[in-house]
Each structure stands twice: as structure tokens, then as C-alpha cells.
């Protein structure tokens, strides 16, 4: 039992970080019906940026979030303008899937030229610190990562509910045509939200590098997890993504400890298939209209 609870704690902490990455993905989908397959590669890119800042300029990885996130926001805006916005036609959505996949390959290629393919890890002095709470072990960096992710998610939801920009975003999600008629600049909202989605990946990525070793190819594993999280939660649903990320974290951690680590991520895919069998639109999703 002790082990199970320990695993649940671990799973929740990890799930929090995944929730942050997935939030960007699901937000972008909700607004422009674009799946950003490069989200995983962007997370890894941010992890490398933070790694480089740490190893060359001794910037603390948690502080580097403040540098990496704005930089990646700009990158996200550029990507949206150059690659995504230029897609036209009735199958622009499907094309965006492939364009962002190509973008992911490009990022992987560039990273492996610059940083080689050996695994890296950002290891600040406190990387190995462990707290013991009621006999359960909690790694300091994971707790920090979880708290940071939760804080950012809170900021994001405040941004969406309390600001003018947030209202414009929500209006666009609900009814793009009506939003435009009400004077919302759809292009601007889309570009900024894409940048926002990428920033979420960036913030999570800077932290990811402290918890996990990574190499340029790590994005495949990441994106498969992120995509299944947003599908399980329901495409476009922010709350759904958070819940699904936590479900994934806990499922994997418990299966790894109680059964076999090799079946951990498989077990999560099974959860996904079963949920889709009952609710094709995901836990909190709205049924997609036929296209």
C-alpha cells in the first residue's frame, strides 16, 4: 500500500508538468482547430535552451523559465505566421497536422546537429534533494516543477477568464464568425494564442530538462503522450487536459511499480482506447462536427 501511495504521489507530480504542456496543445486546437504536432519538439527545444543557459551562463533552470518562455513565445508567433496561417482551403486543418509534423522533424534535425544525440540533463546542485513527508519521498525538483506548472496553469486560466484578450479568445472558440462580427481580430487572436501555446511548452520544457534526461529524439515519446492526453481529455478542453494528464501520470506510475515498467505507457493507451469506446469525444470533449 505504501508503494502504491508513493507511486500516486509521483504520478500526480509528473502529471502536473504534462498538464502544462498539453494545455498549450489543447488551447491552440480550441481556437484554430490546429493540432500542433511540434509541441513535443518545442518542449525539447526549450529544454535545450534552458540546459545551454544553465551550463554556459549558470542560470538556474527554474529562473531560466523567465528567459526561455518569452523567447519561445516570439518563435511561436513566427511559426504561426509563416507556416500555419498560410494554409488555405477546406483541408487546412489536416494539412496543419502534417506541416507541424515537418516542423517537429526540422527542430529535431537542427537540435541533433547542434547538441548531438547523447542524452543531456540539467543538473542544478539541488537536483538530488529529496524531502520526506509522512514517510513518503518527494523529490524537491519534482515538487517545484509541479508547483510551478500549477501556478502557470492558474495564470493561464485567469488570463482566459479575466482579460479582454481572454474574452476575445473564448468568443473565437465558441463562434469564430460571430466573434469577427463583434470586432475581434481573428488573425491576431490566433497568432497570439499560438504563441501562448508554445510558451506553455517552453515553460514546461525548461523544467522537463531538470526532471528527465533528454535528447533530440525524445519528442516522439513526448508528443505521443501529449496527443493522447488531449484526446482523452477532449480536444479543446483545458480542464480535460489537466485531468487526463493526471490520470496518465498516476496510471503509469502505479503500473510501473505494481506490475512492470515496460507495460506502463501501454496501460495508459489502453485507458485511452477504453474511454474512446465509451465516449468518442473524450472525457470533457464536445462532439466534433463532421467536416
Amino acid at each position: 500500500m505504501h508503494q502504491v501511495i508513493q507511486a500516486v504521489i509521483l504520478g500526480l507530480l509528473i502529471g502536473g508538468v504534462y498538464a502544462l504542456m498539453a494545455s498549450g496543445l489543447t488551447l491552440v486546437f480550441g481556437i484554430m482547430r490546429v493540432i500542433n504536432v511540434a509541441q513535443g519538439a518545442l518542449v525539447i527545444l526549450a529544454a535545450y535552451l534552458s540546459y545551454a543557459l544553465f551550463s554556459h551562463a549558470h542560470v538556474d533552470p527554474f529562473l531560466s523559465v523567465l528567459i526561455v518562455t518569452p523567447a519561445m513565445f516570439v518563435l511561436g508567433v513566427l511559426v504561426q505566421i509563416v507556416f500555419v496561417r498560410s494554409l488555405r482551403g477546406d483541408d487546412a486543418e489536416e494539412l496543419s497536422l502534417l506541416v507541424t509534423w515537418a516542423l517537429a522533424l526540422g527542430i529535431e534535425g537542427v537540435l541533433s546537429v547542434i547538441f548531438k544525440t547523447t542524452y543531456r540533463a540539467t543538473s542544478p546542485s539541488y537536483a538530488d534533494k529529496t524531502l520526506t513527508v509522512f514517510g513518503y519521498q518527494v523529490q524537491f525538483v519534482r515538487l517545484m516543477a509541479f508547483v510551478g506548472s500549477a501556478a502557470l496553469l492558474l495564470v493561464l486560466s485567469l488570463l482566459l477568464t479575466r482579460t479582454k484578450f481572454g474574452r476575445a479568445v473564448r468568443a473565437t472558440v465558441q463562434n469564430p464568425t460571430a466573434a469577427t462580427l463583434l470586432g475581434v481580430d481573428a488573425n491576431r487572436v490566433q497568432t497570439l494564442s499560438f504563441g501562448l501555446g508554445v510558451s506553455m511548452a517552453a515553460a514546461a520544457g525548461a523544467v522537463y530538462g531538470v526532471i528527465y534526461p533528454f535528447n533530440p529524439g525524445s519528442h516522439y515519446d513526448l508528443i505521443s503522450r501529449l496527443l493522447s492526453i488531449v484526446v482523452l481529455g477532449g480536444l479543446g478542453s483545458l480542464g480535460g487536459a489537466v485531468v487526463a494528464a493526471l490520470v496518465m501520470g498516476v496510471t503509469e506510475a502505479v503500473v510501473a511499480v505494481e506490475w512492470q515498467p515496460t507495460w506502463a505507457s501501454f496501460s495508459y493507451f489502453i485507458v485511452l482506447i477504453v474511454v474512446l469506446l465509451i465516449r468518442p469525444q473524450g472525457i470533457f470533449g464536445v462532439r466534433e462536427r463532421a467536416l
Partner: protein, 331 residues
């Protein structure tokens, strides 16, 4: 149109059969095999995604399943080497296709983007199974298939070449048949408007599943031939996202939803890729270059070569006709 189609088909078959006889250097036949392999994958991807409008990113999972099924059949049923494994292939393909139906049924309950993502996770599911079902697949250590000893040395590659060619032709025939059948009309109406198609009394799910079955059937056989040719498979190489991207890229380049588009795409891209690898290889920019080509195709030529040419031809003809008409009117 039909006469032209027959001519085109006949020319392709003749050129395909003649190629290894005219150019019998093994390295050329080898590149021929790779080209046909991608052509077969692209045509069968198009067979499902091009005709239904549902983008699947999981096709290569069934390529891997086909490869492993043939490998496991070798190990447990002793199907011998030589030509025998080729005769077993249709059974392997059919079994994989039937086994994929329940998953397809669940996946097809979702729409558009969700469907694409669910099929993408199939890649990872099959790869994990290949890793974890150790007693069947030998996991990460990989599975060795026997090397055929009866094919000789000089023309060793030929049987594999003709097997791949056969699969391309099979896939093309299926597409051709679909295009001029009721099934094709039903698929077209699903692609245009699924709800309306359902309203018209078309059994939407059943129709999509037929197309799905056919595309997996061909894909799995391609995987089998590839595994037999390479003699050694392992999880990452049999379910490789880059192969998936390759097939999709070729279809987009040639033209989605057309009969010959995927073949044209493969004929252009595979040799080009080999050429670039030899002449630009070692510059480490291979992956970046690949991504750049993909991006350019999607952004500049999203409809593909064949539809663009067809439009071009139609436009020129129309221009000539109008000009001719104008000239007449002037007279």
C-alpha cells in the same frame, strides 16, 4: 480516358517488368525495390485516407505488424525460404487486416483530428507490443529471418523486386476498381459530407471499414516483403515514423485522391532521397532537408503534382479554345 488509362497502366507494367532485366546491377534493383515499397505504401495510404478524407497516421503500424507476422510465421511454422514465404503473404496480410478491424471500428467512431491522433497512437502501441511480447518478437534484440539461399547472387534482388511490383499493381487495381464502383461513389460522398451520406442511407461505418481493410491488407504484405528482404527487424525499424511521413509526403507530392499521384510521388522522391544522401550525406542536415522538402510541398503544392498538371492542361486548353473562338469571331 479509359484508353489513355489503359495505355498508362500498360506502360507502367511494361517498364516495371523490364527495369531489372535492362539494368541488372544489384544496387539499381535495390533502389527499385525501395521505390516500389514506398509506392505501394503511398498508394494504399491514399486508398484509405485519400478516398475517405480521414487522415491515418498509423499505417506504418500495420507495415510493422506484417513484418513481424511473417517473421514469427518463419520461426514457428517453418515456411522454409525461397519463394514459399511470398505465397504465405496474402494470408498474413488478410490476418493482420482482420485483426485491425476492432481497433479501426473504435477509431472510426471519432472524427477528423481525433481520428488522426488515435491512429498515431497505434504506432506507439504496436511498437510497445513488439518490445514487450518478448517470447514472440525477441523484443529489442530483434527478429532474424532466414536468408534465402536459392536466389543466387547476381539476381538475388529480383524476386523481392517483382513481389513489390506485384503489390503496387494490386494496390493500383484496388484503387482503380474502387474509383469506378459503387464503393467509390459511397466513399466520395462520405468524404464530401458524412452526415448527408448517412442520411442518404449509405452504411457509412461499413464502407469506411472496407476501405480500411483493403489498405491494411496491402500494407501488411509490403511489410512482410520488406522484412524478408532485410532479414532482420526490430521494433524501431519496423514501426518507423519516418517511413510513415515518407508515404504521406509522396502521396501529397503526387496528388491525393488520384490513382497515379502516389506512384509519381514515390518515383520522384525515393531516388531523389538516395541521390541527396549520397551527395549531401554526412553533412548531418539530412533530417532538416527532409523536413524542408515536406514543408515546401505542403505550402507550395498542397494539391500535388498530378492535380496541378491536370489543372494546367485544362487551363491551357480553355485558353486555346477561347483564343480560337476570339480569332474566329474576329474573322
Amino acid at each position: 480516358m479509359t484508353r489513355n488509362g489503359l495505355l498508362r497502366g500498360g506502360a507502367f507494367v511494361a517498364a516495371g517488368i523490364a527495369f531489372p532485366l535492362l539494368f541488372n546491377a544489384a544496387w539499381l534493383v535495390n533502389i527499385g525495390i525501395l521505390t516500389l515499397m514506398y509506392a505501394a505504401l503511398a498508394v494504399s495510404w491514399n486508398l484509405f485516407s485519400g478516398f475517405t478524407g480521414y487522415i491515418t497516421l498509423g499505417q506504418v503500424a500495420f507495415f510493422g505488424l506484417g513484418a513481424y507476422s511473417l517473421g514469427i510465421t518463419f520461426e514457428h511454422f517453418g515456411i522454409g525460404s525461397g519463394y514459399n514465404p511470398f505465397y504465405v503473404l496474402p494470408i498474413v496480410g488478410a490476418c493482420v487486416a482482420f485483426a485491425s478491424l476492432p481497433v479501426a471500428w473504435i477509431a472510426l467512431r471519432t472524427r477528423a483530428m481525433t481520428f488522426a491522433i488515435v491512429t498515431l497512437t497505434l504506432l506507439f502501441i504496436v511498437q510497445q507490443l513488439a518490445f514487450n511480447l518478448h517470447s514472440l518478437t525477441h523484443g529489442s534484440s530483434g527478429l532474424m529471418l532466414p536468408t534465402p539461399t536459392t536466389f543466387g547472387v547476381d539476381n538475388y534482388d529480383r524476386p523481392f523486386y517483382y513481389a513489390m511490383l506485384g503489390l503496387v499493381l494490386l494496390a493500383l487495381l484496388i484503387c482503380w476498381g474502387i474509383l469506378r464502383s459503387k464503393l467509390g461513389l459511397m466513399l466520395l460522398s462520405i468524404r464530401e459530407d458524412e452526415e448527408k451520406a448517412r442520411g442518404l442511407g449509405i452504411r457509412v461505418t461499413g464502407t469506411k471499414l472496407v476501405a480500411w481493410w483493403l489498405h491494411v491488407f496491402v500494407t501488411a504484405m509490403v511489410g512482410g516483403v520488406w522484412a524478408y528482404y532485410l532479414t532482420f527487424i526490430y521494433p524501431e525499424s519496423s514501426v518507423d515514423p519516418l517511413v510513415m511521413i515518407g508515404a504521406v509526403l509522396m502521396t501529397f507530392l503526387g496528388g491525393r485522391g488520384t490513382l497515379w499521384g502516389p506512384v509519381v510521388g514515390a518515383l520522384v522522391l525515393v531516388p531523389a532521397q538516395q541521390y541527396m544522401l549520397i551527395h549531401l550525406g554526412g553533412s548531418q542536415l539530412y533530417l532538416v532537408g527532409y523536413a524542408a522538402v515536406f514543408m515546401v510541398v505542403l505550402l507550395v503544392l498542397p494539391r500535388g503534382i498530378i492535380p496541378s498538371i491536370r489543372d494546367g492542361v485544362v487551363r491551357t486548353r480553355e485558353r486555346q479554345r477561347t483564343r480560337g473562338g476570339a480569332a474566329k469571331a474576329a474573322v
